[in-house]
Amino acid sequence: MVPQDFHGVFSRGMAWDRAGAMDLVVDTLAVARGGLTVLEGVSFTLAPGQALVLRGPNGVGKTTLLRTLAGLQPAVSGTISVPPESLTYAAHADGLKAVLTVEENLQFWAAIHGVGGVADAMAQMNLSDLRARRAANLSAGQKRRLGLARLLVTGRAIWVLDEPTVSLDAASVALFAGVVRAHLAGGGMVLIATHIDLGLDEAQVLDLTPFKARVAALSDGFDEAFA
């Protein structure tokens, strides 16, 4: 951890190079979880219109990497260069409010990001029929669709998605792949960690297994414990 910017305590502590092109550039990045480096030396570039699928066995560090890219945790080393305010993150937790309706949930995120298009987003994710249903009364897959519809109302170009198709049936997975393609066609970028095949043949695939961090043999001395 670089002693910079109060380590993300008093401001968003990313080692982001905010100036730069429209690309997402990741350079020899190392990320840590629970004080242990899990991945190191990760580098890739994502240009507008490109998608990248991250693969790797359970526990390799996909979630950790995505959270770091989203600026939610600091990187151990390496740099991430991303255009300012252009990235949105979707994790396992959808950020849905059970007592608000489908439409109200989307409207809130649209208002936060200052964009519209709620009706369009619902139509794209096949939620129009459920618009007045409270999120509490959706099935697992319907909730997931709503969580993904949120991406469409953020107006952000880079989508960082952690296992987005969990509990979706085959039809919904295809629907989602269509939405991703449309986003790419509009110049967006998508980064997806997933274990299943999304049918996005145009996407590049990055297997994270080779980047697994060697467990540094703790020698004598205490310094290593405070990496």
Binding site: G8, F10, R12, G13, A91, A93, G95, F108, I112, H113
Partner: protein, 218 residues
């Protein structure tokens, strides 16, 4: 930010959102204390200002874990942190929503509960004034405590422990205003100090709370 405020208020008013519960708790304290202490009017009148303030404080305290914990659990907080709104703004808006849902109703309802505790004649006015001046501080300080403990599951009691010491000055000056008011003495000094605490807390604590949130999201 307006959208966030409206959403928080809407969530509070929907079923299970907890509006009115703070009030109910305040009422319960005002009922329980005489039940425990005994019914003598003179004793009650004497302890009324202190108990009313302690009750308001506990009612605020108990609703604190709603400020951030729900948003943390369902992932909204992660999303808000990556949204265009600065986290300081999120904290300020949420503390304000908490005050609207808790502190304001408490202030309005306090005189009625004063009757149960046999508060002396002139105390009522100063009870309302002191609560109006002091409860915003309770909400902001509470938001800071809630931000510190947002990662802890069901951290209700932990929040209480962290926040209560911070509430002490507000409590002392608030109760002092009511006590002096009830006996017709001069209230200016404690009232100014109370207002000062509120102003200071509102000005600085959102930054500290946002910092705590960032650490907890990491």
């Amino acid at each position: 930010m307006m959208a966030l405020l409206l959403r928080d208020l809407r969530l509070a008013f929907r079923a299970g959102g907890g509006f009115g519960l703070g009030l109910a708790f305040f009422l319960l304290v005002a009922v329980l204390v005489p039940l425990g202490v005994g019914p003598e009017p003179a004793t009650l009148a004497k302890i009324a200002p202190g108990i009313l303030w302690v009750g308001a404080l506990l009612a605020c305290l108990l609703s604190l874990d709603r400020i951030f914990a729900l948003d943390f659990e369902d992932g909204s907080l992660d999303l808000l942190a990556t949204s265009p709104i600065p986290l300081e703004g999120v904290v300020a808006v949420k503390a304000f929503a908490h005050w609207l849902v808790t502190g304001l109703p408490l202030t309005v309802a306090a005189p009625v509960l004063g009757v149960l505790l046999n508060l002396a004649g002139q105390g009522y006015l100063w009870l309302v004034v002191s609560l109006a001046a002091g409860t915003p501080a309770l909400s902001v300080i509470g938001a800071f405590g809630a931000a510190l403990t947002v990662g802890v599951k069901r951290g209700g009691l932990l929040v209480s422990l962290l926040v209560l010491p911070l509430y002490v000055p507000t409590l002392i000056f608030g109760a002092e205003v009511v006590k002096r008011g009830a006996t017709g003495a001069e209230v200016q000094v404690p009232l100014l100090l109370l207002a000062g605490i509120t102003a200071g807390a509102v000005a600085f604590l959102p930054f500290a709370a946002a910092a705590a949130l960032r650490v907890n999201l990491r």
